[in-house]
Subunit: 499 residues, 2 copies
């Protein structure tokens, strides 16, 4: 067969897989946003079946044959070669896993997700514990079917962030501990920033209007996305042309929805800005977690927590909440958005203490997979670590071990990419600021120029490049976490200890 | 194979089909409620592919073999025999249609639906016309592959309402013309009922709250359903446990959302009340259109337009709209809800003139399929018929030929079941009133007793029985359309010409 014909056949197979992905992804979004509770069992049984069908398509020997032929074809262009290479690697990850195991795992994930919601709302870890154990067991079992030189937790780490492993993460988190913990301790004794107004009463209906303002300012394309409401904010790229975000409104917390919306819009922007000719290929959805997270963190922290971001938006928030903000000027508002305080909930954590929340999860996951942790002691270990690193102890499961959805989805190895993504973002931001006067652009209401830079240097490629390659392309340098700790150190030192 | 084992294998195949139905149905609901416009092409291409997959499953020779074996098995209980019989009949309808034709048809339907939305909002019939022609052509082509004694339009009529044909519908509509047109003419010269308040300003947010009140009164189960918002109200039973409804809010029309919500809740109640052991069988979703419509019409017209229905709800609507309804008492409110006036939009039509809207569509469809209508003249014919039967002429396409979604979905032969369903409902209501003091029950806030009656006599069976059988089971008589015209004649005579 001609290479062009092989490619065409390959694309046809991808089209079939993407058809399943589309409806499953939409059903998943529906389930998390509006579906009624009584339909859950009926839906989960059928979704698990379809996950199995997708698994069969993804591990189809004909697909493998096509990929192998394309991989050795001589006249395939460089980008297509990469796509084939990444896809082959992914194929080999799935290849030896028994379908029954995969379907069982999917079924437990779907159930665990529902049980987790219930357990969290009832503040009852014991309800969720057996599902967590089962997911850990099934994850370990799945790892036995992976033919790779990597072992245990390293396989999971590499799945979510190609090239990463325990050694590298240990180094990364070592730097964070060394440089940030002393700063956090110093700040805990410094004068507090006044954030009382943040916890005033902000009616949900008004918050909704404000999110629309923020997203319009960021040129989020509502014709290619949706803002919906869920318990746990997330983004969901059904396609490049339909990249959705969700948030959760708290009546007594203005900042929570603001920064979750900007964060998820960062993810959506990545998906919306992938090049058209890559949008229906393997590299559209196969972007590393760290790289994706770098784009949400960049928007959330490196842009939306600056004063310039608020030059156009602060008058709007004042208009929507005149009473609540009557004694608040832009400076006070931005300072409050950056206040650092050790807290229990990761998603509400400030930029500085955030990586410690991740460190805790990373250490626990490491312990789960190297067997050094007694699973029956998990909640206690969680609480101990919060006390050790953040000086506070959860008083209940819902603000402790039950706070995150990830483990309920069997996503072990994912958390560390959150801190890593923040690290990438610091370096991207450093490069962007060399090219653009970012603050001036935001002041001038030209957020699109910033998005254009991100598209040109990062987004357009989707997952065409490995994280290390992508960082080199966008910044001209190897990944250097010093940018991250330097940024945090400078920012928080000048915020809390102005000269 | 043992019969029990055959049945198990058959159920397994049904489970697979229902898995596809679930995700497709959810995606369809999502598309109509919140999906962004730019994702439409990507989605439609993939949905059309999956429709093809479902078609393959539905026409799978192994399924046929199972059905045939079960059909001739001796030790199958009566209900299962029926299920198998209806399924076999359905199988034979699909059986000889080429898959390519089916997929092409699906693709055109999906596109036509999007184009129709655009054409309607731009009031441009010419935009939609080529899609309509294509759907007519493809429908005719599909009919060539139907092995049946029926011909042309009769095949379509029988598909939506087993047992119905042109001859029977002509008789049914003949009675309507004979008995109702003179009454409508008399009313057009009578003193008008004051409905001005209906078109006051009713904020959408308040209407939403009111719909919640109405659905609570009707004991609609929000744990097994959703109320969403769409351009065109519809109901969508994803499963017995997830039976959804939608409505459209108009700021200047209170009654529109009220009666569409009650109507769709009628459909949803049917699905929610199907017996558990039938809920995952062929007869769950395969209920005749006329029978389903009888249940929505029964709620909408025969219950919600009575005064007793409002005994509990009128105080609530007064509370939500105190200004708008300050000069309106319950009597005036209910009279306005029943006012009859010839109008252009079917979905807003009153109970009395409604069947004429259907008659017009029926006559046009008949002409399309017997070739007596020049397709290029369709819009003109539509307008002429409105002038003939209702004495008014659409001034634009969106309030004429573009008003309904059905033809954009290729649903020819469906419309007549709307009038027929109203006819069935009259007879059901007559039977129910023999058993129950319906008005007293509504007055006493005991709507569940009415729902129980419907479950016991109709809903529990799903589509287990043919319409004619179901009518006999619930009423002890053959279908008799005199109940319908008598009801309308008595009701509207006493409303407009009280003695």
């Amino acid at each position: 067969m001609e290479t062009a014909e092989l490619w065409k056949k390959y694309q046809e197979k991808m089209f079939v897989i993407s058809s399943y992905d589309l409806v499953i992804s939409t059903t998943y979004f529906d389930a998390d946003t509006i579906a009624p509770v009584k339909g859950a069992d009926y839906r989960n049984d059928r979704l698990a079946y379809l996950y199995g069908e997708v698994f069969s398509l993804q591990t189809d020997p004909e697909l493998l044959e096509l990929l192998e032929k394309l991989n050795s074809a001589e006249n395939l262009d460089d980008e297509k070669k990469r796509i084939v290479k990444w896809h082959l690697e992914d194929f080999n990850k799935m290849r030896y896993i028994p379908k029954e195991l995969y379907v069982e795992y999917s079924q437990v994930q779907l159930e665990a997700n529902d049980v987790w919601k219930k357990a969290k709302s009832e503040n009852n870890y014991k309800l969720f514990e057996p599902y967590l154990f089962r997911l850990i067991e099934l994850t370990k079992k799945t790892l036995e079917y992976r033919h790779t030189d990597l072992k245990g937790y390293n396989i999971l780490l590499d799945d979510f962030e190609p090239g990463m492993n325990i050694e590298k993460y240990d180094r990364f988190f070592g730097l964070i501990k060394e440089r940030l913990i002393p700063l956090i301790k110093r700040i805990s004794k410094a004068e507090k920033i006044d954030t009382a107004f943040v916890y005033d009463y902000y009616p949900v209906e008004q918050q909704r209007k404000f999110m629309k303002e923020i997203l319009d300012y960021m040129h989020y394309d509502f014709d290619a996305g949706v803002l919906a409401e869920t318990e746990h904010p997330f983004s969901n790229a059904i396609s490049k042309y339909d990249s959705r975000i969700t948030t959760h409104y708290y009546e007594n917390n203005l900042m929570s929805s603001v920064f979750s919306v900007v964060h998820e819009a960062g993810h959506a922007t990545y998906n919306n800005q992938v090049r058209d000719d890559l949008a229906e290929t393997f590299v559209f959805s196969n972007i590393s977690s760290g790289m994706h997270e770098s784009q949400s963190r960049l928007m959330e922290n490196y842009l939306a927590r600056t004063s310039a971001f608020w030059d156009n938006l602060f008058p709007k928030v004042k208009e929507l909440f005149p009473e609540q903000l009557k004694d608040v000027d832009q400076k006070k508002f931005v300072r409050a958005a950056n206040a650092s305080e050790c807290s229990l909930i990761r998603t509400d954590a400030d930029e500085l203490t955030y990586p410690l929340h991740i460190l805790i999860r990373y250490e626990i996951e490491k312990g789960i997979f190297d067997g050094s942790i007694d699973l029956n002691d998990l909640e206690n270990i969680w609480n101990e670590k919060y006390e050790e690193y953040l000086g506070i102890r959860p008083s209940c499961s819902s603000e402790g071990i039950l706070q995150d959805v990830h483990w309920a989805g069997g996503m072990f190895g994912y958390f560390p990419t959150y801190a890593l993504g923040s690290g990438y973002a610091a370096q991207f931001m450093h490069a962007m600021r060399k090219d653009l006067d970012v603050d001036q652009l935001m002041h001038d209401n030209k957020f699109t120029v910033i998005k254009d830079w991100l598209r040109e240097h990062i987004h357009q490629y989707g997952g065409l490049y490995l994280p290390e390659e992508q960082i080199r392309i966008a910044t001209g340098e190897e990944f250097n976490p010093e940018y991250y700790v330097d940024y945090l150190t400078e920012k928080y030192t000048s915020l809390y200890f102005p000269e």
